[in-house]
Structures are given as C-alpha cells and as structure tokens.
Amino acid sequence: MTPPGTLRAAWLVARKDLTIEFRTRTAFLSAVVFAVLALAIFYFTWDESIVTAADRAPGVLWVVLTFSALLGLQRSFGIEEHDRAIDALLISPISRESIYLGKAIGNLVFLCALQAVALPALIVFYNLHIASAILAVSGILFLAVLGIVAIGTLFSAMAVNTRLAELLLPMLSLPFFVPLLMCAAAATSRIISGAPASSARPYLNLLVAFDVVFVVACTLAFPYTLEE
C-alpha cells in the first residue's frame, strides 16, 4: 500500500466534496438563489438616471459574488465537522496540505459554477453588451475567485469549530478579500465600459501576484489551523 501523493489525495478530497454537494445541492442552491435575488434587489434600488448600468454592474457583481461565495465556503468544512469526518482525514496518511488543496479545488469548482449562473444573470439584468469581452471578464472572475478560495478555505477551517462560525468567517476573510476585490472590480469595470483590454492588464498582474501569495501562504498555514 502506498498512500496517494499530495495532488492525488487533494483530488480525492475534492471529488468527495463535489459528490456530496451534487447530491445535496444545499450550498449551491442557497448561493445561486442569494446571488440572483441580490442582483434583482440591486437592480430595482438603483436610480439609473444617476449611475448607468455599465458603471454599477462591476460593483454589484463583486458584492454579490463575495457574499454568495461565503455561503459555499462556510459549508466546506461544515461537512467535515458533522460526525467528525475530519478526524478520519487527519489520521489517514495523506498530508494536511492535500486536505487544504482538495477543499480549495472543491470550492473553486463550486464558485466557478456559481459564476456561470451569476454572470449571465448580471448581463440580463443590466442589459450589458459584452459578448466580445465575455472571455476577458471570465478570466478576471477566475483569477479573483482563486484568491477568494485560497483565503476563504483557510478561514473556513479556522472558524468551523467556533460557536460564531457564520460571523467569524466573513469577519476574518473580508479584510483579506479587499485587495483582490479592488483589482477585480477595477479590471471588470474597464472591460465592461469598452476600454481596451490592455488597460486592465496592471490589475490582472496584481491579481496573479495576490493569488500566488495567498495560495502559497494559506497552504503552508493550513496545517496549524487543525491543531487542537
């Protein structure tokens, strides 16, 4: 018997999480419904004669995605706490880093699926004409979500054992989300307003840099969050 390597073990954990989510669909449905409702409320509460749809869409998109992402991240370690399934992972020969990476991959797929619903909903609600820029917007979304997942997965593991987990996860995560959201919103805004793609490049470079830092730092920090 040879225990699986880090990436193989991470994939096992991710696949297990996605199977559970596919069967129960609780977190995904909650996040999608929340995202669509939030988009609708933003649409009806904003005065279009003051701020145009194209101007407010990027901000609305990132507010909605951030808070609906928290719903999925919250559940990530919640399924491990029920019946202490996390103990079975911890006593198995796989590394703790692979548990983190597996959870992060599962969360990334979850949030990409959420985007696949939220982005078309945003386009419809705000009547955006961004067919030619859809790939660029998707790329920005992916880069920002990668950083959000890196941070959110770490803090989800830290918060899950606490009495105020639902409160603690956003309180810990949101300050770290800020640099990612600033870059993502600025880049999205430029693309949606029809500016050349090159004008978004500095923000994309920053997003990549943040992603690298957050993924590496959170992977290294994760094993310490599971100490009792």
Binding site: M1, A9, R23, T24, R84, A85, A88, L90, I91, E228
Partner: protein, 238 residues
C-alpha cells in the same frame, strides 16, 4: 504486521487542557497481537488517551511511539493505524460503500472497491452497501464506521466504545473481527464500559482513573466476577 519494536509505546504521556490534566503520566507498552481493554468512568481520560495515540492530539509531555515512530508526524505510521471513535466519522450523503472506498483510497489500498466490499462483509452489512449513511440506523452506521476503520487492515486499532449502538449480530461481528485482527498480530486498544465485552477479547486489562492508569492486569486466568467487583470498588468508592 509483525514488527521488532513495540506496536505502541507511551512514556510519561501527559495531555492537559488548560490546567486540567486529562491524561496524567501514562506509561504503556503494547506488543503486536496484544489487546488492551481500557476501563474507567466517564471523564477518566480514556478517549483523550486514544486520540493522543492516534496522533489527533499532541501530548503536552512525554512521547508516543507507534511501531517505533510518532504517529502524528509520520505518514507511514498513520497508514497502519485504525480508529473507531464515538462519532461515526462518515459522510451522511455518501453510501456505505462510498464511505469505505473513500477511506481505502486515502490509504492507497490497491483495489479499494474489493477492500470495501470485504470490510462491509466482515461487519455483515454488505446488503446495505448502496444505502446512504443518513438512511441507516445508529447501529448500522456504527458497523459502517468499523468497516471504514479496518478497510486498510491496520496493525494498530484504537476502538472507543465500539459496541455502542450495535445489536447482538453487530456485536458478534465486531467480536469476530477483533479476534481476526488479533490473529493477524494487530495491537488493539479497546475502550469500553462493559467489563464482560472487554475481557472477552482482551489479553490485558487496565483501569484508568483521573488520567492515570491505576491498574494493569494480564487477562489470562482473570475471574470476570472478581474483576467486576474490584472495578466497582475502585470506580464507586464507598
């Protein structure tokens, strides 16, 4: 798996939570094939001791060696440890077979599906293999949990009140499985409140009180009635 070093070796193990010592200076050595029944009242530190041996808790003082190495820091050692806990450690949305197969894959078992089938068969729950765990009764979940813990054929098995919730058939399956593991030279630590169940399979019996092992006996020739009476005297002082 026979080994030159003791299967489990604890030296001066202390585990404190704040100022309270849940485990207070435990020394213990188990050879391959040993089965230690660990008795003690609630709060004596039995579960904490198992979690320390399994590597889930770091000892505050002392050393824990499983097959000569630290289970906490050595993945090779963790591969040979199985834990059955109070909680089932199962995913409720997955079926019995999926839970056990997932565990087999984590341990790198070569044919996870076949290993899962074997483990479920040993616990006499193969007929419910495709049932989601959430739809199983507490006792059946416990059987799946035991199958999960032994699917990789561990050489050190830690069992925390494994008979809880099991009916007569489940209890018999577990006792048979423990005998099989002993026959395969696995070292077992069995925490239980039931003296009869413990002495049925154990080679040694220990009593734990306030974090300390206060009595350790060889089970050969132990009179169960006398042991029960002695245990009651220790646990419930006049």
């Amino acid at each position: 798996m026979p080994s030159a070093s003791p299967a489990v070796e604890l030296q001066g193990v202390v585990r404190a939570f704040g100022r309270r010592r849940a485990v207070d200076g435990v020394d213990l050595t188990l050879a391959p094939g040993d089965c230690l029944a660990l008795f003690g009242p609630n709060g004596a530190g039995k579960t904490t001791l198992l979690r320390v041996i399994a590597g889930l808790l770091r000892p505050t003082k002392g050393s824990v060696r499983v097959e000569g190495k630290s289970a906490r820091d050595d993945a090779d050692v963790r591969q040979h440890v199985g834990l059955i806990s109070h909680q089932s450690m199962l995913y409720r949305a997955l079926t019995a077979a999926e839970n056990v197969e997932f565990a087999a894959k984590l341990y790198g078992v070569s044919d996870p599906a076949a290993a899962a089938r074997r483990a479920l068969e040993r616990m006499r729950i193969l007929d419910r293999r495709d049932t989601p765990v959430r739809a199983l009764s507490r006792g059946l979940q416990q059987r799946v949990s035991i199958a999960r813990a032994i699917v990789h054929e561990p050489s050190v098995v830690l069992l925390d009140e494994p008979y809880t919730g099991l009916d007569a058939a489940g209890g018999a399956a577990l006792t048979d499985m423990l005998r099989l593991l002993r026959h395969a030279q696995a070292a077992l630590v069995l925490v239980t409140h039931n003296i009869d169940e413990g002495l049925e399979v154990a080679t040694r019996a220990a009593v734990m009180l306030a974090g300390k092992i206060v009595r350790l006996d060889d089970c050969a020739g132990v009179d169960r009635v006398e042991y029960q009476s002695m245990y009651r005297t220790m646990v419930v002082p006049a």
